[in-house]
């Protein structure tokens, strides 16, 4: 039994002291690993990251996180990462880590991701420099995620892709369609399907839905706190009968 607790979009600010910690009181008994899918702070201020660190002080299981768009707002993401790492949180940014739980090695590859929309209605890197920069940011995020997954998957019994932005539209159900291009990108799903994973966890879409699946059949869970309406969700990654082969998404 490998139990993974996950939550995103906790948006810690000065007025939320104690709020997150109260919800994590029993996480050490209920899970083996805690994943945080970005938007840990309200505006990405280092003082808010310090508050996040305090909120997480009672968590004894390993914590793996990615940043979200809110964590970048103050343009001090490096300091936010440093403050989280100081208290033992592993912060992924196009990178991967492994956690050993009772002889089972869980690989987590993660990054923020970005927007652009989904197949059939996605942005393309054409035209103005600003448009190209927007799409290239997503392409870069997807490529780094794919590389991190490919690196960690051969060395892990279970692999999880951790994102802030959504890789599929199914977990956005409930959001206005006009917002989809700002909530995620199919390039992220394609990268995950090529490299392979057992579970994808993301946040960002507060009005979305919890459950979806990539075109290659990998389960996707939107754990934005307004979606799950709880402190976290727990997913039990059971023994796979047969390790699924990566799905070739391109001919």
């Amino acid at each position: 039994m490998t139990r993974v607790a996950a939550v995103a979009d906790i948006h810690v600010g000065a007025d939320s002291v104690g709020h997150v910690a109260a919800g994590l009181q029993h996480v050490n008994e209920r899970a083996d690993l805690l994943l945080l899918g970005g938007d840990l702070t309200r505006c990405g201020e280092p003082v808010e990251a310090q508050l996040v660190a305090v909120e997480l002080a009672g968590v004894e299981i390993p914590i793996v996180a990615v940043l979200g768009n809110h964590d970048h707002h103050a343009d001090r993401a490096d300091e936010v990462v440093g403050l989280l790492e100081d208290v033992g949180v592993v912060v992924l940014d196009g990178s991967a880590t492994t956690v050993d739980v009772d002889g089972v090695r869980i690989g987590v590859a993660g990054g923020k991701g970005f927007g652009g929309g989904f197949a059939g209605a996605n942005a393309t890197a054409f035209g103005e420099p600003a448009m190209k920069a927007f799409v290239e940011e997503t392409q870069r995020e997807a490529a780094r995620l794919q590389a991190a997954l490919a690196e960690v998957r051969p060395n892990a019994d279970r692999t999880i892709a951790l994102l802030h932005y959504a890789p599929v539209p199914e977990t956005l159900r409930g959001e206005r369609l006009e917002l989809y291009p700002f909530l995620g990108s199919h390039l992220l799903a394609e990268a995950i399907d090529i490299a392979g994973a057992d579970l994808v966890v993301h946040g960002h879409a507060h009005h979305g839905s919890e459950r979806g699946v990539t075109p290659g059949g990998i389960r996707v869970r939107n754990v934005a706190q307004p979606v799950i309406q709880h402190a976290y969700r727990v997913y039990d990654l059971r023994e796979p009968a047969v390790r699924e082969a990566p799905v070739a998404a391109t001919a």
Partner: protein, 84 residues
């Protein structure tokens, strides 16, 4: 001066909610219904919900503000989803 069209008012409110330090929230649904501005969505705390209402009241001159935002329920959920 003619009243601001409702569509622009909604957009101005949403921009303010993203940028005003009291709010910093992108996930608020803003609707203008008659002479009222109705807010729905979820706030992290009761204080944030109230601050969001305050920001909107300052902008929506001449409108009543109905703040129907809920506060996040962040209690622990005992259920486990088994992914086989």
């Amino acid at each position: 001066m003619a009243a601001e069209p409702q569509e622009y008012l909604v957009q101005h409110i949403q921009e303010a909610l993203a940028t005003d330090p009291r709010a910093r929230e992108l996930g608020v649904e803003v609707q203008v219904a008659g002479d009222r501005v109705v807010l729905t969505g979820t706030a992290a705390t009761a204080a944030q919900r109230d601050s969001i209402g305050e920001v909107v009241r300052e902008l929506a001159d001449g409108y009543g503000v109905v703040n129907e935002m809920t506060v996040l329920s962040a209690d622990e959920d005992g259920t486990v989803e088994e992914l086989t």
